[in-house]
Symmetry: C2
Subunit: 201 residues, 2 copies
């Protein structure tokens, strides 16, 4: 299963924190795919998160997220800045996607943003996420900002668009797209028992 996430995305937080354990329970291999929502929103004519552009939806989302985190016993504090610039963190996650420490790094960044209200656009914050993993933050961040790493994240974001992705989190199983935190269980169920319903759309 492919897990497509964006570090600034609110519903990506609970998804990122629970996806690995659930995938393991289902015996489903997991691919972590960071991407950026900004270019996708801009292509729709949005210059901000839809949760800011449409305040009624935004108000609902924050309460819904609060409830979801409560149910999962995940700490949650509304970030004082939303959405936060996530490009540096996404470059790290894209460049080092296959490293065994990647899932722990992703979770640490999400918690920094949505539990500890830290500015994840700052290299110092990301270095603090890398330190407990015994990683040389400085070196990792430098490598993540190489031209090749920047190009890799751009390509991955373009791939998201090509796959029909328009929001985060998204899950892909056998060319089936599932959007949002709620459908994670439906995506995992699909790995075992795809619906017999012919794909028309």
């Amino acid at each position: 299963m492919q897990f497509w996430f964006e570090f600034a995305s609110t519903y990506s937080y609970p998804a990122a924190l629970r996806v690995e354990a659930l995938a393991r329970q289902h015996g489903v291999p997991l691919k972590w795919n960071a991407f950026l929502l900004g270019p996708l929103f801009q292509a729709q004519g949005w210059n901000d998160s839809p949760f800011n552009l449409f305040p009624v939806q935004g108000r609902y989302m924050w309460r819904d997220l609060e409830r979801i985190c409560g149910d999962l016993a995940l700490p949650f504090r509304r970030p004082s800045q939303f959405p936060r610039h996530s490009v540096l963190a996404a470059r790290v996650a894209c460049r080092f996607a296959d490293e065994p420490w990647l899932p722990a790094f992703v979770r640490a960044v999400f918690q920094a943003n949505f539990a500890d209200d830290q500015d994840i656009s700052q290299p110092a914050v990301l270095e603090r996420c890398l330190a407990p993993l015994d990683l040389p933050g400085n070196t990792v961040l430098e490598e993540a900002q190489s031209p090749a790493s920047k190009a890799a994240l751009r390509a991955q974001t373009e791939q998201a668009v090509a796959l029909g992705i328009f929001g985060a989190p998204s899950f892909i199983v056998d060319n089936e797209l599932f959007w949002g935190n709620d459908p994670l269980e439906a995506a995992l169920a699909w790995t075992r028992a795809p619906s017999p319903v012919k794909k028309t759309y």
Copy 2:
């Protein structure tokens, strides 16, 4: 639990077809509240369904609905016109909300729209939904178009806005709003075990 639905809304279809049995299983009294999404969308500057305005989301929605209906063994055929004009059906549902036949009528209209591709804006189609319930379609539709019935639906739509509703289906339990078909189970769980998380937003 309040169930807020719109006859033209795609995700309201599976919700309307499963809500009564689930609520009964949970011993939760159910209030059926028809409303119109059009005025809410217009207030956001949208002159059409967001699924038409944002085609990538629309494409996803049709496949997602196809999958959901497959899982629930609900017949589904994409309506040849979307969204359909739902004001007459909504006036009936609002005027006769407390009648014992109301849930069966609501289900019949949703099936006409999303399983049989019938134009639910037509009185003849609604009369065919009323006939199996032994109701005089002509009289019911006439009463639904009285000035009082029209005003009642307008007031109910305004109440939806006042409650923070912005889409359909929506469920309300103890001032908590749940939006979409997926969160129906979460709304029902809330009736027994509200989250201890303080409402901040």
